[in-house]
């Protein structure tokens, strides 16, 4: 099956800074992809390009369409939740359901109502009277009721307390995600989604610095706790990153045999955040 999103040489500049610098990647259907990068790395710009919200240079195909020319056709199959609550504050819950039902051919109102009935959100309330967590629940209810092929989430849980954050991702996984759908998510809080993701895309300064599946991460990257007596031996193997933890060194290796590393110390699969720091700092060095 052809890739759902195919980006070739995306470029986008804001004045002197490049938000996207010849960026290429592709995303297959049925994956949950985390697009992860430091502030200003080009995450949001990449999402905006995919959603047809910003002009850019380069080749980009989303569901076989060009988002620059076919944004509104594309939005029949793409859903989008932005970093902060963007639901209009004046609108009533009932109205936003009616509106989506009226203009979106793939919206299932019954499904949204069913989801909302499990929350404390009253249908007659205005968005501005809801708490931030409730607004996110409402937006999630809307999105889950749309039979879309691609869901784009830009920092969807920012500013939410931990209960809502956990609920958000478990709803997505249990009630929404299946092989037909693809989710592309950006976040700062890597830890809370690392068990959800199937694929990783690290972006730094407009460039993709890591593009692999979670399975490949486990195969390819190993973190080893090395005592002082073996440190030189370990460094000879070319770690991509090194940090101190309680007097011992933690070294991160890429494409070095597991058996070899286990002789140096305790070897384990690195956390996404450690891998991220290694890749981003490595890219800066």
């Amino acid at each position: 099956m052809a890739a759902l999103i195919e980006a070739r040489g995306l470029c986008k500049r804001y004045g002197a800074t490049a938000a996207l610098d010849n960026t290429s990647f592709s995303i297959e259907a049925g994956r949950i992809v985390g697009l992860i990068g430091p502030n200003g790395a080009g995450k949001t710009t990449a999402l905006k390009a995919i959603l047809g919200l910003t002009p850019f240079e380069g080749g980009l195909s989303v569901l076989g369409r060009d988002p620059r020319r076919e944004r509104h056709e594309l939005m029949q199959d793409v859903c989008f939740i932005a970093d902060v609550a963007v639901l209009p504050r004046w609108i009533k819950v009932q109205q936003v359901l009616d509106m989506a039902d009226g203009v979106h051919p793939k919206f299932n109102k019954g499904k949204a109502q069913q989801f909302l009935s499990r929350t404390d959100i009253p249908m007659t309330a205005k968005v501005k009277t809801l708490s931030k967590g409730m607004v996110t629940q409402l937006h999630l209810a809307l999105v889950m009721a749309i039979d879309a092929r691609l869901l784009v989430l830009d920092e969807p849980t920012i500013g939410l307390d931990i209960i809502y954050r956990k609920e958000f991702y478990s709803s997505l996984l249990n009630d929404y995600f299946d092989e037909e759908r693809t989710i592309l998510v950006t976040t700062h809080q890597v830890e809370e989604i690392q068990n959800v993701l199937t694929d990783l895309l690290f972006i730094n300064r407009g460039r993709i610095v890591l593009d692999c599946s979670m399975d490949e991460v486990a195969e390819r990257y190993t973190e080893v706790l090395v005592g002082p007596e073996k440190i030189e031996q370990a460094r000879a193997l070319g770690p991509i990153y090194e940090q101190d933890t309680f007097g011992r060194k933690v070294l991160l290796f890429e494409a070095v045999g597991r058996a070899e590393l286990e002789q140096l110390g305790e070897a384990r699969r690195p956390s996404i955040s450690d891998l991220f720091v290694a890749k981003v700092k490595g890219g800066r060095a």
């Binding site: 919200l53 939005m75 859903c79 963007v86 509106m99």
Partner: protein, 304 residues
Amino acid sequence: MSGFLWLIRRELWEHRAFIYVPLVVGALMVVVSVLFSGEIIAALEHAHGKITALAEEERAAIFSALIGQFAVAIALFMTFVVLLYLLDCLHAERVDRSILFWKSLPVSDAKTVLSKLAMAMVVAPLIVLASALFFGIVEMIVLTIHFAAAGLGPWEYLWGPSRIFGTITFLIYAVVVQALWHFPLFAWLLLVSAFAKRAVFLWAILPPVVVIWLEKVIFDTHWFADQIGERVVGVFPLAFEFGSGGHQIVITDEETGIELTARLSELINPGPFLSSPALWIGLVIGALLIAAAIWVRRYRDESI
């Protein structure tokens, strides 16, 4: 097309003023006439002789004047509602970032901008018409009581045949003509709303003022200012025929100087209006400004 109607509904949900301003203005006018019932009845008794002397056709003027009075008052307030709305609608959605939600729906930017234009050009005039007729007829009922109390037969003087249709025809013509004439102004406001980051009022007013000033300084002329003035009020001499036709029945009240035109529909004069280059040039400029507004909403990057 039903999608477009949803966009209109959504505008009416957000901008309640389109509904309640005409209701409040119309209701207030009726309330005033009820409160001043005593004075009105006394005035009617005073003018008893004059009213009974009116010819059948002249009596129709009372109805037309009444509806017209409501239409003018409601239209005046509605104009403010519409101008503020146009200047705000594409700006506010960027300020509160709800544009990201609206853009997540499969609705084209052209459709969205046209729905906002339709609020000014179609929905607002329809509301003015409907509310003027509604309150005009409510007021007729109030006046029926006043006439009866003054000893004048209301059926004879107020509710004559074929008065409603002529008046409605006139009002429809007036709002259509006005909307077409004002189209470039509306389009300019929408473009400013889509374009300006802040200070939409200044952006709406300053560029024309600068052009007028430059023209004054460089050429010492005021062509552009004249064009704008014409655009604001110039439709009436162009689209209506006042005073000249001998077939009109005008009742002048010597005491107040008020003139009532009996058959409003005879003021309709579309020939000079439709053949005026100013109308067609205005429509073309308006269309270009709307296209620009759609383009700006489509390609503007909110993160800059």
